[in-house]
Symmetry: C3
Subunit: 164 residues, 3 copies
């Protein structure tokens, strides 16, 4: 039996993260009173993740109020990395993800800030880079909220389909 | 074999939209970096849709700040029509929808506006008109957010069950 | 055949609610134009529930604007009790719930209030008390929104897995 070429040369999501020089963050021990993801059938529901590094909240602030779009985009990337850390921890290998299904991006915003979709795009771009277009492209909502826990600028939750 | 009367005379969701003189909007080409819906198993997750006509955002503004409830209700209807355009595009026929399961309505709101449920009702009424009570009635949340992409007044996401 | 000890002595969620001296609220007749939950496969999607007692909204207000954290926590508990009333009504017995999968907690908040997770913890703690850690622990998001229907301070929606 011959390995199919696309599989032989395919890189894992973990390798692709490495190539992008991105690291899965240490989320720290505490989640308050909940768990970071729950699977039902082939579907995993991932809790809302804000940007965390070494177990501590980062990118605190509010879009439209002293925080730049570029900082918001980095906050979204860091939040997705936290989501991936949770999925890696739960699944063992990120390649067990068959499809990123749905992403919900909450952006702490003033009433005047209306570029939540641009903040969210950085999260979507990362998911497409790591899982490829076929598995990584997803349905998405992006909304501007009044405030988030710990003063997070971004919080991202996600639904994914995984193998059996 | 005789056609069962209720089926022989049943109208499709598309015909019911026609009778209501409602048209599925052209959503335009761009979604940023995501897709408009993703199916996993028999369940379709639809991305957040704001009100769009001929590929352009309409009903911009904020409830409680110069925008009337009636405009908000029309924004919600237009958002649902966008959701249906997406489902029609993905499924071919809207009759493939077995049940509207869950609707989440984000309403751009001032702190003083607390009639998000009345805005959302117009979306729910449309879904019941087009799919009938049995398939069209759904669980729903309606919340007031600080702001939405492009200055949308309303954004609606939806979960539906479809045939196999 | 001998009853397994843990089953013989296990208390139902209803009995545990009793022991906590908590009562499922009367949610009143009206939901606007939607239903309180919809099941698809083994998964139940529950609509957003604010705190209601005897069919009337309670705990109105906004965190960070005259409402204390403790009041917010009681609002979250009352919202979860409403969710459980809906599930009890739909399923007959709460013991038919195999897992609380995902909870989304909307907290009406000023821009300065960033303790949504502490408000949400009271909801999570109640779910764990009633269903036990194995079935009751769940993925969760908590966000601060501009306002909620009827002036609710909290609104909670939930996804649960139920038996076949």
């Amino acid at each position: 039996m011959t390995a199919r070429p696309q599989e032989a040369f395919a890189r894992t999501p973990e390798q692709l993260l490495d190539e992008l020089a991105l690291e899965l963050p240490d989320l720290g021990g505490a989640t308050g009173r909940f768990v970071r993801c729950v699977q039902t059938g082939n579907v995993v529901f991932v809790a809302g993740h804000g940007p965390v590094e070494k177990g501590r909240p980062v990118f605190l602030g509010r879009l439209g109020d002293g925080m730049t779009l570029e900082e918001g985009r980095r906050a979204a990337v860091q939040s997705v990395l936290g989501v991936l850390a949770t999925l890696k921890d739960a699944l063992g290998e990120l390649s067990r993800i068959r499809r990123i299904v749905k992403v919900l991006v909450f952006v702490s915003s003033t009433a005047d800030f209306t570029d939540q979709h641009l903040v969210a795009n950085s999260a979507s771009e990362l998911l497409e880079s790591v899982f490829g277009l076929e598995k990584g492209s997803h349905a998405r909502s992006a909304v501007g909220v009044a405030s988030l826990p710990y003063g997070f600028s971004v919080e991202i939750e996600l639904v994914a389909e995984v193998d059996s």
